[in-house]
């Protein structure tokens, strides 16, 4: 049986599969849905206008953010906020890039990459163990522990984590962000990988056992390649979370040269003060890598956000 996550790369259903978590048997056929759309024109008009309204609410601030970052300070204080800048300038971007932006960017890249690699590899091993020993008590208990983890707010445990990091002599290092971030990425990563792996047909594993393969062999040459779409999904999802993470960097690092981008943005606010256009340029720059990732992996990202949660 196909899983929620494999569906997203299913070549049969054409484009626009974002969040398409339907099952093969029950997948709505586009034709029949369109007929229903015609019948429910009024209803659609209602939700349609709500959608338009919300689209404006979403788009206007983003539009404002971009055009403000292109304004000079004089233009910012004098011009109409939503009008296009009279003399668009990249000076704000030059100002930001002339500072320590590249340091912050590099820190964010290192922290995000390291966290994602650790979380995904470790979670894959755990998920494989949980699925392979699905009947055992230990497997059930550990799975429940990760589910419990979904409910722990980061803020609630930050003080003991802070104490641990100090005692491990990791305070004010990038590793201090990586380890807790990876740990807190595990619950959702394990949950999605388990829901994927448990739908891999048992016969495939049994065939490998007959061939004399051990657990590691099965993990590396069967589970990992089969789970690739799910792995991509969780990697992108975890990456987004860590890239945008603020609390761990705020509390577990201190020096400017260890700051990651979200923390750096608050430093910019202090540094630029009233110079809103420069701060907005920093905001835009800090978001560009995620925008690039989104353009490359939109399907994976949307699947990651909905897989396992839907139903």
């Amino acid at each position: 049986m196909s899983t929620i996550v494999t569906k997203t790369r299913d070549p049969r259903t054409g484009n626009d599969r974002e969040g398409a978590a339907e099952r093969p048997v029950t997948a709505p056929r586009p034709g029949s849905l369109r007929r229903i759309t015609a019948v429910g024109a009024l209803w659609r008009a209602l939700t349609g206008s709500a959608t338009l309204l919300w689209a404006a609410v979403v788009v206007i601030p983003v539009y404002w953010l971009v055009i403000t970052s292109l304004r000079s300070r004089a233009d910012f204080t004098a011009g109409s906020p939503l009008a296009l800048p009279g003399h668009p300038t990249l000076d704000n971007y030059r100002t930001v890039l002339a500072g320590d932006f590249t340091t912050y960017l590099l820190n964010s890249v290192i922290v995000t990459a390291a966290t994602v690699v650790i979380a995904v590899v470790v979670a894959l091993m755990a998920s494989f163990a949980i699925v392979r020993n699905a009947g055992s008590r230990l497997s059930r208990v550990s799975f429940r522990l990760y589910l419990l983890g979904l409910a722990i707010p980061l803020q609630a445990v930050i003080i003991p984590v802070y104490l641990l990091i100090i005692r491990m002599n990791l305070y004010d290092s990038l590793l201090a962000i990586v380890l807790p971030s990876a740990a807190f990425a595990l619950p959702i990563t394990v949950m999605i990988l388990v829901s994927f792996l448990r739908d891999v047909p048992r016969s495939l594993f049994e065939a490998m056992i007959v061939d004399g393969a051990g657990d590691w062999r099965m993990l590396i040459s069967l589970a990992a390649p089969l789970a690739r779409p799910a792995l991509m999904t969780v990697a992108v999802y975890d990456g987004l979370q860590v890239w945008n993470g603020f609390l761990f960097p705020l509390i577990l690092t201190q020096s400017g040269d260890k700051a990651v981008l979200p923390l750096a943005l608050t430093l910019y606010r202090g540094q630029f003060g009233i110079d809103v256009p420069a701060t907005m340029a920093a905001v835009v720059l800090s978001t560009l890598p995620m925008l690039a990732l989104f353009t490359l992996a939109r399907r994976q990202l949307v699947a990651g956000l909905t897989a396992g949660f839907s139903k």
């Binding site: 969040g19 759309t37 979403v58 906020p81 409910a151 609630a156 003080i159 641990l164 606010r269 905001v283």
Partner: protein, 283 residues
């Protein structure tokens, strides 16, 4: 094979869960050594009006956020569920807030809502030129709105995915029986979305305990004006990392843990997340 994950999660997830209770009984300024305090922190926290105000604000943010976000997300998800070019475009637009960090969102909205230079300076939008974040009466609602701005798209995606999973035959049968769109929505879509709704609500409710970053940035780290937006996590941060009273802050944090676990136990029980079997059966 399960060991590395359990070790990592145990060390930074489960040990701190116990640790926060232990630290709530300790005296610690965050730098020096940790001493024993007994129940002093607890009695201080529980008799402090500020704690109850923070708790009340947290509940308020949680409930209003749920009331605002659920219908909007449901309507958006319902609109986006059928496939089409225009809807795909909307899906991309709605995704933008999910790419921005809470800090980026906070800084943007803070500047955008500035009474002098923000959106209120636009001709025709002068009614927005109010101290929306600076007024004790309005700040909390403004924060709730910005939270919705950030999270509605995510929940709309959940509902969209949920609606796409509903078997078309149900609608076809209902249409044959003469059911109109509103009836079909009420009798088929809503009941079939039960689990999606529970999931979305769980994430929303538990998530609202973590609305820290955004409020931190929007209020300049104070939970202000005054204490108008000082929700529980922010109160914990201020007590611990600004007033250097980690013991008291831990007691506040323990309240958060109890709150979070209680909420999720309740909702996972309803949603059946803990089933080990595939979620695909039973339809």
């Amino acid at each position: 094979m399960a060991a590395p994950a359990l070790l990592l999660f145990g060390l930074f997830g489960l040990v701190p869960l116990v640790g926060v209770v232990a630290l709530s009984l300790a005296r610690w300024d965050g730098l020096g050594s940790v001493g024993w305090a007994g129940v002093a922190n607890w009695s201080a926290v529980l008799t402090d009006g500020a704690t109850w105000q923070a708790l009340w604000l947290t509940v308020k943010v949680m409930v209003i956020s749920w009331l605002v976000q659920t219908p909007v997300a449901l309507a958006l998800g319902h609109f986006q569920a059928p496939r089409g070019r225009l809807r795909a475009l909307f899906a991309v637009l709605f995704f933008l807030p999910l790419l921005l960090s809470a800090v980026a969102i906070g800084l943007t909205w803070q500047a955008l809502l500035d009474p002098s230079f923000g959106i209120g300076a636009t001709p025709g939008l002068h009614w927005l030129a109010k101290p929306l974040l600076g007024s004790p009466d309005l700040a909390l609602y403004t924060v709730i709105f910005v939270i919705a701005w950030q999270f509605v798209p995510f929940h709309a995606l959940l509902y969209q995915a949920g609606i796409r999973q509903i078997p078309t035959v149900l609608y076809e049968a209902a249409a044959l029986d003469g059911a109109g769109p509103a009836t079909r929505f009420r009798r088929i879509t809503l009941p079939q979305l039960k689990y999606t709704m529970v999931t979305s609500s769980t994430l929303m409710l538990v998530g609202s305990l973590t609305y820290f970053d955004l409020i931190f940035v929007l209020s300049g780290g104070t939970g202000g004006p005054g204490t108008a937006t000082r929700v529980l996590p922010l109160s914990m941060y201020i007590t611990g990392f600004q007033a250097h009273d980690m013991g008291r802050a831990s007691a506040v944090a323990a309240l958060l843990v109890v709150f979070g676990l209680g909420l999720s136990l309740l909702t996972t029980r309803l949603s059946g997340f803990t089933r080990m079997d595939s979620q695909q059966e039973g339809m």
